[in-house]
Each structure stands twice: as C-alpha cells, then as structure tokens.
C-alpha cells in the first residue's frame, strides 16, 4: 500500500515526509520535480508518475503537492482518494491546510498520519473517530490544558465508532438544541458556443448536511420528485436498498458536517442555462482590439442572480485592457493575463455590460482565436434541476428536532466560447 508521503510546497521544498514502512529517501521526489518541470502549469503535473522502482501518486491542492510513494500494484484511485482525505482532515483540524499551519502543528500532523494509516493501510479515517483519538487544536483545548496542567491530545480509550456498524457516528452525542440542516447545492457545468447554443450543460448536485442531533437518530429524507436522481453517489451511511425500492434516503447520520449524497444530472436531460452573454471581441492588426460583453438573464425562474463574475484568460500577446463596466469592478492581471470582472447582482432591467479597448504587444502577431470566458454566479433559493425535498422524518429518538432545507444553484465550470 502507501509506503511514504511527501508534502511539497510551491517552491519545491519537501517540507514534510512520513514513512509507514521503511524510509524512502526524499531524493525520490526528483522524479516528481522532473515531471513538474515539464508541466506548463502547477495543475498539469500528471497524477501518476512511474520511476524505476516506485510509483508516485500525487494530488495538488491549495498550492501543496501531496506525493505518495508506492512500490507494489495498488489501486491508484485508492491512494488518490486517500490523499484527498488526508488533506480534508488537515483542513478540518487546522481550518486551513497550508505549509504554515502544517508546520505549526507538526506533532498533531504526525499523530494524525500515524493514526490514519498503519503499514500503509487505512486505519482510522472517519473524522469523528480521529477526533476522539486526537483532539483538534482549539481555543478550548488550550484553556483546559492550561487549567488542568495536562496537555495531552491523545485519548486513552478506544473510540467507540471504530468497530460499530455505524463507524461514522460516535455514541453519546448530546445537544441541547437538536438541529438538522440540509443544503441542496447544484453546480451547472456548461459550455456555450459562439452562437449562444448550448454544447453541453449538466448539473452536479450535492446535499450537504449539518446534523446536531442527540443519541442515535435514524432519519428518512424524501423528495417530491426523486425520479430526477438517477445517478447518485451515497455517503456510506445511506441504506442503498431503501433507495432502490422506495426512493427515500434512510440513514443514521454522522455527527456534524458531511455530504449525504452527490448526484449528477447528465447532458441527456434538459438542463436550464440561467444566463447568456453577448460578446464582441476583435483584434485588429497593429494597434489592439475591441472587447465588449453584455450579460443577460435566460432561465432564472424569477430569481435574482448574484455574485456574478467573469474571468477571461487572454493570450500572452495582450498587453493591457482599458474597459468601462456598467457596474462592478474589473482587474487585469498583467502577468497571468487574466481579466476578472466582478459584476455582483444582476438587475434584469439594466443589463450589466463592459466595453473598452485591448492593447497588444507591438511586434507580436495578433491572436488566432478569441478567449473562452469563464463565468461564476449563484442563485439562492433554487435548485436548477427542480429537485425538492418533501419531508424529513426521525425515528429512534423522542425529541423534536429543528429542521431546515436550503437550496442554491451556482456555476461550476461555466464557459462561453467566443
């Protein structure tokens, strides 16, 4: 399984290493650096790298590379998933996973890694089990430590969830206010071509929960239109058979935040596209060019579109842009050549637009193609697919919980070709 882990920062320092079997010298990372050198941008490093004796599997998140070394035939997705899980755990513990936070908490980092894998096999990965074993650093812990004179973050008792049939939930959970919140979040991935036709539009949906319920609650969540969901990935707590037969989500929830399901509504269904743009981008020989974009509503179902922003990566030969937006602010990053226009809310009676001139580097040939425009936006109180929660029932506990459902739609990879 996983032999070693190296964490590498953006300037190429291996600032942390952990070995679960015998020590592999960090010079192994040279193979990684070689591939990194070939890659055009930090994201382009291939995730699986073969070296004469080892395989390097890596992920790139928050400007950090997590590089795992394996020597035998292992499922690469297993390792990659696991690396993401390690990152998530660090983020969970230290609120942010960066070089600074990792270095600050190196003993905890080390204890966590030791607890998460044994001999390269996953040991305790569920966050609530880990938190029982190793308490996260927080203000309260510091206080108690100071008061009691102890500063051990390591528990001496076996975490209860480790072996139960519901490893994701610890026992003895108690809240004075019992609450269950569900966020239905949908992201639209779309490619719109020059003429404004939809090349592809699909929805990636999630139901994220915040559950603070005492005891062992057994929840059932039902939808008004479950037929919409035909491609789902479930959190392990969801009973698959109930879904297959009755189309309801039945589960004993983990404590706290977690993702209950993620679902995909494919291009074969009709996915509504909430916005359109009108664009006119032209380069002219010699001087520069013209840039003009207007955003308009398409299928917003009467809701307000907020947090609109545009991102336009320009070719290297573009020197600068002088634009006038009808609302919001724009910036142009002269190094990365990226135009960002922060539009904000859209008032359907007065469409946001931006126009102005492009100046090109003299001597360079004019760019062959127009840039792709990447758009971000969000629409609250609506799930674009139309999915709606019907009701939430709780069994197994007596109290009456407070329940809430929120809907939200936002842009995923939403791109306009121009």
């Amino acid at each position: 399984m996983i032999n070693s882990l190296f964490i590498i920062n953006s300037s190429g320092d291996v600032f942390m290493e952990k070995h679960w079997k015998s020590v592999i010298h960090k010079s192994i990372c040279d193979y990684f650096f070689e591939e990194q050198g070939k890659a055009g941008s930090p994201e382009d490093v291939p995730p699986v790298i073969a070296t004469p004796h080892h395989y390097l599997l890596n992920i790139y998140r928050n400007q950090l590379y997590f590089v795992a070394v394996v020597t035998t035939e292992v499922p690469p997705l297993f390792v990659i998933e696991f690396l993401h899980r390690i990152f998530d755990t660090f983020e969970d513990y230290f609120t942010e996973c960066s070089e600074t936070t990792l270095k600050e908490h190196f003993v905890i980092v080390y204890e966590l890694l030791d607890e998460m894998l044994d001999n390269g096999f996953p040991l305790a990965v569920e966050s609530n089990i880990l938190k029982e074993l190793i308490r996260p650093p927080n203000f309260l812990r510091t206080i108690t430590d100071t008061v009691t004179g102890k500063n051990t973050g390591v528990s001496a008792t076996l975490p209860t969830g480790q072996l139960s049939n519901v490893p994701w939930r610890r026992t003895g959970v108690k809240y004075t206010n019992n609450e269950a919140y569900f966020d239905v979040i949908e992201e639209i991935d779309a490619i719109i071509d020059k003429q404004g036709n939809t090349v592809i539009a699909e929805v990636q949906g999630y139901i994220d929960c915040l559950i603070k319920l005492s005891g062992m609650p057994d929840l059932t969540l039902s939808f008004i239109n479950p037929r919409l969901l035909d491609d789902i990935s479930f959190h392990p707590c969801v009973r698959y058979k109930r879904w297959e037969s009755e189309k309801v989500l039945s589960f004993v929830p983990p404590d706290g935040n977690f993702r209950l399901i993620s679902y995909h509504i494919g291009a074969n269904n009709m996915v509504a596209v909430p916005l359109y743009i009108r664009h006119n981008i032209q380069y002219r020989e010699g001087s520069g060019g013209r840039f003009e974009v207007t955003i308009g509503p398409k299928q917003t179902m009467g809701k307000v579109v907020e947090n609109i922003s545009l991102e336009v990566p320009f070719p290297k030969s573009v020197l600068n842009l002088t634009l006038t937006p009808s609302q919001g602010k724009y910036t142009f990053d002269p190094v990365g050549k990226i135009l960002t226009w922060d539009v904000g809310r859209m008032d359907p009676t007065k469409l946001p637009s931006i126009k102005g001139n492009i100046s090109l580097q003299s001597g360079h040939p004019i760019p062959e193609s127009n840039p792709t425009i990447n758009m971000n936006f969000s629409i609250s109180q609506m799930a674009i697919s139309g999915i709606k929660v019907n009701r939430l029932d709780m069994y197994g506990e007596k109290y009456k919980p407070f329940k809430g459902v929120k809907y939200m739609t936002r842009a995923g990879k939403f791109q306009f070709r121009t």
Binding site: M1, A50, I59, T72, E73, E104, Y110, S233
Partner: protein, 956 residues
C-alpha cells in the same frame, strides 16, 4: 518511520523555532528551542526525573530532535525506561522512538521485547493494539521470534480492534520474514479471520492477504478463495469501511465463479457499490462487474441491465477531482474498447473544458474518438475544430490528428473532416498545417481518388513544413499523385537540394517519390532520378537508403515494366480502427481495472517490480451452462467494425508497399497497417506489414505456408526422424561420493505434452537401497512430480535402475537463478540428498505454441524493440527446412519463412508452460554456418535458456 521536517538550506533550528513562535504561542515549535550545551545530557536527566509530566516533556523533546534528524540514540535506555506508563500518549511517543532506532540498535531493541509481550496482555485493548502495531514496525530480525506468540494471541483476541490490527501485523511480518510467517501458521490464522464476525477484521485480513499474495505466490494455496469465503466477503462488504470495500472487491475480482449463476449473484451483490461516494470503491466494483459479465450469456437481459447500470457511475467519476478523473479516464478507455455500448450515448461528458489539466484533456480526446460514430460525428467535429484553436500545442496537434482519425473511422463523414482540415490549413498556424498534412496523407490512403482536388491547397504550404513527418507526408502525396501535379518535378527537385540534411524518413520518401514520378513521366525527369539515385547510393551512409536506391536502380535498369508494376502497384487501404489494444492484452487489462496496470495499459508483469506472482489474470470463459450451440466465448457485442474485404493486398502490391510506404515513426498510418484483432477469415488480411516481414508476407498471409506440415509429410517419406524431440544426454547430477553411494544421473525430455524427468539411480554402496522419494524446491516454472516416485524393488549394490518421472507444472513458483535451475531432494533409506540441475528450456515448450500469423505480427510489433535480443548460433550444418522441422519437433513453430537476397528468414513462435510467449527470427545466410537468432518476448529473463535450447536443438 519518521516524520521529518526538512528545513531550507541555512535555516537552523532556533530560527525555525522563533519564526513559528512568533506566529502562534501554543504550538509545537516550542520543543525546538534548545540550549547550546549538553543537550543530550540535559534530556537524560529530565528523562530520569520522578515527575511524570517532566518525563513526558522530555520524551517530546527527544522526539522533536529526532524528527529534525538529530542523533538522540544515546538516550535509548532512558527513553525505554519511560515505557512503563499508563499514559497512552507517552507510550505512543516511546514506541515512536523505538521504531526509529530499533534498526540501528538491535541489541537495545531486545530490551523492549518484554514490554511488547506485556503490553500485548494489557487490559486496555487500545494498548494491546498499539503494541501489536508497533511490534510489526520494528524491522529487526533478532527480535521477531519473540514476537510470534504475542501476535498469535492477538489474532485470537476477544476485542475485534486488536484482531484487525493484528491482521495487518501479519502482513508486516511477512514483509520482514516470509518463511517465518508461513512456518508459524500465521497464514492459516489469517485465513480464519476471513470468517470473523466483525466486518472490519475481515476487511483488514483481506488487505493483509492481498499484500502477501503480491509478493509470494506460494501463499496462494493456503489463501485460496472458495465460494464460501467469497460469500462471507460479500456479507462483510456491506458493513465495512470504504477502504475495506476496495480490498474486498479486489479480492473478489480475483475469484473465478464456478458458473454463470454464481457470477450473476456476485454481480447483483456488488452493483450497489457503484453508487458509493468513494471513487476507488466505484472503480473496483466496475472491475468485478466487467470481469464477471464475461461469464454471463452474451445477449441476456441481465447483461443489458448491467450495461445500463455501469454508465452513470463512470460518468460521475468525471466530476471528481482532476487526479481522479485522470485515472477514471484511463480505465474508461479500456471499458469503451471492451464494451462500447456502455458509454455510447455519453459522448458529451468527454468534451473538453478549457481549464481541464492537460493530462485530462488528452485522455478525453482519445475517448471521444473511440466513441465517435455516424450519429455524433457532427458534434465531435465541431468540438475538435474548436480544440484546434486552443493554446496548448500538444493538445492542438492531437486534436488535428483526431480529425483524421474520425475521417478514417466514419466514412460518411470523411468529406466533412477533410473540409475541416482545409479550414485549419487556412489558419496558416505552422504546427496545425503540418499536422493536418500528415493526417490528410492517411485519408488519401483510406479513400484514394476522392479528395485529390485539395492537393493544390496543400502544395501552397510546402515552404512552411519543417517537421520530418510532415515533409515526408507531403512528398509522398506529390509522388503518389505526380501525374496530376504539373510542377511535381520542380517541387521534388526543391526538396532534393538539401537531401543530405534531411531526416532518413524524408530521404527514403523522396527517393521513392522521384522514382514514381519518373515512371509516370519518364521523358523529362531522367536527370532528377539519376541525381536522387546517386545521392542515395553513393553519398549516403544509411544502409536502408542505399539498399533501396540499389533496388530501384536495378529494377529500372533491368526491367522498367517490372519496376512500374512494383513501384506503382496499388496500395492496400489502411484500416479504420487505429490503435486498439491487442485483444488478449485488453482482456488482461480489463481484469486489472482500477490498478496501476490500467493506468499504464500494460500487463502488470511488464512493469511492477518484484511482482513475483506469475499469475496472469484472464477473463473467465463463458459459462457452459448456456445453450450448447452458443458456448464459445463470443467476441464482445459490436466488436469494433472488423475490417471488411476492402483490405486485400495482392502479392505485388505488398512488394510495392515495401518499397513505398515508410512514413514510419509515430504516424498513425503504421499502426493502422496491422489491424490487431484477428477477426477476419480471409488469409490475405493484414495490410502491408512490410516493416516487419516485408515480402515474406506473401507466404505469411497468402496461400499455404511452405514450411511446417507439408514438409513434415516429406520428412516421413524420406524416413527422417520426425516428431522426435531432442533429449540431451544424461548427466551426473549426484555423484556417488556425495550421495553416500547413490549416483543419480538424469535428463529431461518432453513426451505427449508432459515434461519427463529421466532418472537413473545407480547403487555404488555396499547395502541395498529402498524407500526412494523425491521432492523439488519451489522453482521458476512450478515444476513438481506429478506422482510420487515408485521404485518397487530394492536397489541392490552395483545395480542401477531407470525411472521416468512425469512432472506437472502446477507447483509453487519462485524465481530461480539461473532461471531453469531446479533443486531436487532425493531420499532413500540411507539419507536425504540434495542436488540441483538445469531444466533444458525446450522441455518446457508446449505443443500449442503455434501462434496465428496475424497475432504474431501484432505481437511482434507490440513488444518494444528494446526487448529484442540477438544471439549467434555457430556452426550449424543444416538448411532452413531441416531446421524448421527439427525445431517443430521441439515445439518451436515456424510461422513464416521468407527469402531476402538469398538469406532465409524464419519467423517462429513458442510458448512456455507458464504461458510466456516467445517470438523468434532466425536468419540463415547461404554458405554461412553461423545463424543469427533474434528473440522477442515480454519477459526477457527467459532469453538465455531459450538461446541455449536453440543451440542444443540445432546442433543435435
């Protein structure tokens, strides 16, 4: 084990401490603040302190120093003393220290043994588990023996948490000392854990077993899965953690169900995993389903249900993180080739987003082409055209190439593809133009006399071409259509100016093109042809170029009509499916979905180091319980369109081809020349494979093969000793001096498809010998006696007896050095004797080692050139025919024979008992008793033995 913070050059510890300290008070960096002098001494005193807290702080400081690479090994005894504690954190820290230094201080580590033994009996299961976990990480041989008993107890512990930890410990121990684990019966205990009541324990046992099997195939027998264990695993599957599910699914995928009913029931129980949030679980489930589907009846309703169920999870993987997408895409590539129907309606999800990482883009593109059909070609083309204007050069090139592949794959869309390519050429972007010309050449080869009207446009871009492949393609086009291009002579002449500086590919092409031009327009191009022939034959150092130059020269000077027939012969059409993976390899890869093999599209034994497991995973055959008429393993429904009879090269066109097409290299055209799947019945299939076998193809592909059977018949008439395989003379394996009077001589032979060990026992002692028994050590080919040796009567002094011992190859496998080494133990009433002998490799050549010709071609091409090794066989006194016969008697099969300028080339295949295929080329020059043998195989280890075998057979 260690967690080491590497500091940038020049950073010292105290500055590091200060930096961190500034950021946050309550951090671990306080352990780094050091005093300058006597640090170790100071720690020593603190460690010996009576106060618990002080002790713990001290251990923490020790660990901190250790992790930054300081040597604190001198504190070993003091730290060890702290282990007597009920504080778990302190204990953990001490264990941590132990793991780090045990290896360098083995004698000290022994002192820790007692603690482990005691901790393994602690009342707190967490401590028991921690002890057993740490134990396995101390890789010191000396102490392992002491740890067996505690481990054995922990494997039977009442607490499942301890049992699951102990299961992993067995794998650790196996890594340190495999023999010990097997001898101590830990494997049996591990197997028992498979039926544990706790699913986590089962999952960990499976994980440990898979890791052990990875390195030791001998454990195979002990850890064999049967349908009842599989049932238990399936039960545990529903309840264990996501990681455990991956282990269990992978273990299930290695099992072969006994019939289609069992396969179907496993599929039914595995399909819910397809909806798991963890991508690794999903992909492992896909593997199980893809593999077991093979056993189900091809057109059954259940198959179509499964096909429907497989699409959504595969699509969902594409919305995960890019790294996951990449692995998923590599696997989808295999799934699409095996069962295109699964994703045929999902083309759009493979459309490329401009901010996908490049590795995702390239994979998506490849899958798009595989899914292209007449139904979606319009969309695909529009996309590809879009991609061709992107920034990334690699991606743009591949997109342009993809357009060409579409044209070749979907005939009705060819015209649209060509016009798209023309549009792209108009952009005048240099690399786009070059790439487009390369693919247009391929389109011409697929649809001759259809799109030549665009040649004029192509010629306009002549000057901008600077890449060899593009230049060669353009030259080929000019030569091929010389009669339609008025100024073809001028164009070619312009290339000729820098002839010496051109790449070989371009030179060869230019030579051929000019000869073509000359044959088409002999009147005004004589000078040109003279010039190129002299450049090729006199001024060039390249033997290929010279050879070809001479061939043309002679052809033209002796018989221009023949030259015309040869050079201007009609070309075979290239086939549509470009780079499909060879079907046997594809099947093997399907069994390895979700593994590294599936990412590299290579069989695991080709690259995973130390994978001693000789087992190749193969798809299970279709179950026999279906109807009888239909029980052949059917090809996957909708096998990628078998090339129809359009591809029929005549003999002469093949020769033409030999002299013509060599726009080699990575160009798709070559790949297309070998339609890899052996689907066709026509013997003349296969396009022009001239790079490999050249003219030999006529005998190879058309008509009856001259060698082999027909010759065997002749041999019979003339009383040649046919079908007599070579048996080396017996040699002394155990001299009497070492065998207490027993002398063993012997050799190996092959009879009726079995390996026979011919033994002669001679009694040179004074007393009769009885009770003979024989045993083999594990060996490279799994040889073992098929039955016990049986010598009925006692062997009296000064007598000898011969015995033929039939061997089977089902035994345990372990790689030996040399490969064919066999260690034998012989027992009689006197003693046990050991000796080793070499098994002549040819005794391991199996009878069905005759490869189909087309498979041979594909395989030869598929094995990388660096695997080819040459060997000279000296002083052989036979001609090609007798040699084929001799080799055939020893199960080396001649697939084809050809004659090149008097040299005989024999192409041969053989298969070893363990399924390794070896391809051979034997070059025989007239009047030269020294033959040249080239071998090609995926496993190069066998070469030496095989060369030896050829030597022996040919000299016999």
């Amino acid at each position: 084990m260690g967690c080491i913070f590497s500091h940038g050059e020049g950073h010292n510890l105290s500055t590091e401490g200060e930096n961190c300290g500034k950021n946050l008070r309550m951090t671990d960096s306080k352990y780094f603040t050091t005093t300058k002098k006597g640090e170790v001494f100071e720690l020593k005193t603190e460690l010996q302190s009576d106060k618990k807290e002080k002790k713990k702080e001290a251990v923490k400081k020790v660990i901190a120093s250790m992790t930054v690479g300081k040597d604190v090994s001198a504190l070993f005894p003091d730290v060890l003393n702290c282990i007597q504690t009920d504080n778990l954190e302190l204990k953990k820290l001490v264990y941590l220290y132990l793991m780090n230094y045990a290896k360098s201080q083995p004698d000290m580590a022994i002192m820790a043994v007692n603690t482990f033994v005691r901790d393994c009996e602690d009342s707190n299961p967490l401590i028991r588990a921690l002890a057993v976990r740490t134990m396995g990480c101390i890789r010191v041989d000396k102490i392992i023996d002491y740890l067996c008993q505690p481990l054995r107890n922990c494997l039977k512990d009442e607490d499942p948490y301890v049992r699951k930890t102990a299961a992993v410990c067995v794998a650790k121990l196996h890594d340190i000392n495999a023999q010990l684990v097997e001898d101590q019966g830990f494997l049996d205990q591990l197997r028992d854990l498979l039926s544990d009541s706790n699913p986590m324990v089962v999952a960990n046992a499976v994980a440990a077993i898979s890791e052990i099997l990875e390195t030791s195939p001998t454990a195979q027998q002990v850890l064999e899965m049967n349908s009842s264990t599989i049932n238990k695993l399936l039960t545990a599957l529903n309840e264990c953690t996501e990681w455990g599910q991956v282990f269990i699914l992978d273990a299930i995928s290695n099992y072969t169900p006994k019939d289609d009913k069992e396969a179907q029931s496993i599929c039914e129980r595995v399909t819910p995993r397809l909806a798991h949030a963890n991508a690794a679980v999903v992909l492992s489930a896909v593997k199980v389903v893809m593999k077991f589907m093979e056993m189900l009846e091809a057109n059954s309703e259940y198959i179509s249900t499964l096909v429907k169920k497989l699409a959504p999870p595969l699509v969902t993987l594409l919305s995960a993180e890019p790294e996951i997408q990449y692995v998923a895409l590599r696997n989808i590539n295999l799934v699409v080739q095996k069962r295109p129907e699964i994703l045929k309606n999902e083309m759009k999800v493979f459309f490329v987003k401009y901010n996908d990482p490049i590795y995702v883009k390239l994979e998506k593109l490849d899958i798009m082409i595989r899914l292209t059909s007449q139904a979606n070609i319009a969309q695909v083309l529009a996309e590809l055209k879009e991609y061709a204007t992107e920034v990334d050069v690699d991606f743009v090139r591949k997109s342009v190439r993809a357009i060409g592949r579409c044209a070749i794959k979907v005939e009705p869309a060819a015209e649209r593809c060509v016009s798209t390519l023309l549009d792209l050429i108009q952009t005048k972007v240099n690399y786009v133009v070059q790439e487009a010309i390369v693919v247009i050449k391929d389109i011409f080869r697929k649809y001759p006399n259809k799109y030549e009207s665009i040649i004029a446009t192509l010629c306009e871009n002549l000057d901008t071409l600077d890449e060899p492949e593009a230049r060669a393609s353009m030259i080929w086009i000019i030569g091929e259509y010389a009669e339609r291009i008025d100024n073809a002579d001028e164009l070619l002449e312009s290339f000729l100016e820098g002839f010496q500086d051109e790449n070989t590919q371009v030179q060869l092409q230019l030579l051929t093109a000019i000869v073509k031009l000359f044959l088409k327009r002999p009147t005004d191009t004589q000078d040109l042809v003279q010039q190129v022939l002299s450049l090729a034959t006199q001024d060039s150092d390249n033997p290929d170029l010279r050879d070809r130059g001479y061939i043309y020269w002679r052809l033209l000077s002796t018989d221009p009509a023949a030259a015309k027939e040869v050079v201007l012969a009609e070309k075979p059409l290239i086939s549509e499916e470009t780079d499909l993976i060879e079907p046997t390899l594809l099947d093997e890869l399907i069994c390895n979905i979700s593994s590294l093999a599936s990412v590299y599209h290579k069989p695991p034994n080709a690259f995973v180091e130390g994978s001693k497991s000789s087992l190749r995973k193969i798809l299970p055959p279709r179950s026999q319980s279906g109807n009888v008429g239909d029980d052949q393993p059917s090809p996957p429904a909708e096998a990628p369109s078998a090339p129809a009879a359009t591809v029929i090269p005549g003999v002469d066109s093949l020769i033409g081809d030999l002299l013509d097409m060599d726009l080699g290299g990575p160009s798709m055209q070559q790949q297309q020349m070998y339609p890899p799947q052996p689907t066709s019945q026509t013997p003349v299939q296969g396009g022009g494979g001239m790079d490999l076998l050249g003219e030999g193809l006529d005998s190879l592909l058309g008509g009856p093969a001259p060698s082999g059977d027909s010759l065997g018949g002749l041999g019979d008439i003339f009383g040649m000793p046919t079908a007599q395989s070579y048996v080396p003379p017996q040699e002394v394996w155990l001299p009497a001096s070492k065998g207490k009077g027993l002398e063993v001589t012997g050799t190996f032979s092959r009879k009726q498809g079995n390996v026979i060990m011919e033994l002669t026992f001679a009694n040179k002692a004074m007393q009769p010998m009885t009770g003979f028994a024989i045993q083999f050590n594990k060996n490279s080919f799994g040889l073992m006696p098929a039955s016990p040796i049986n010598i009925p009567s006692a062997l009296l002094p000064n007598q000898s007896t011969s015995y033929s011992l039939q061997l089977s190859t089902m035994g345990a496998v372990q790689r030996m050095d040399p490969l064919a080494n066999l260690q034998v133990a012989i027992k009689n009433n006197i003693d046990v004797f050991y000796f080793s002998c070499l098994v002549p490799m040819h005794a391991l050549f199996v009878e069905d080692g005759e490869m189909e010709k087309r498979v041979f071609l594909a395989t030869w091409k598929d094995i990388p050139a660096q695997n080819e090794v040459q060997h000279e066989i000296c002083n052989v006194q036979h001609n090609a025919d007798t040699i084929s016969q001799k080799l055939k008697n020893n199960n080396v099969f001649t697939i084809a024979k050809r004659n090149v300028e008097g040299q005989d080339m024999l192409y041969q295949s053989l298969k070893l008992t363990n399924g390794i295929w070896v391809l051979a080329e034997l070059k025989i020059q007239p009047n030269n008793p020294n033959f040249m043998l080239s071998l090609k195989a995926r496993a190069m280890d066998v070469y030496q033995g095989i060369q030896q075998a050829f030597d022996n057979i040919l000299h016999n």
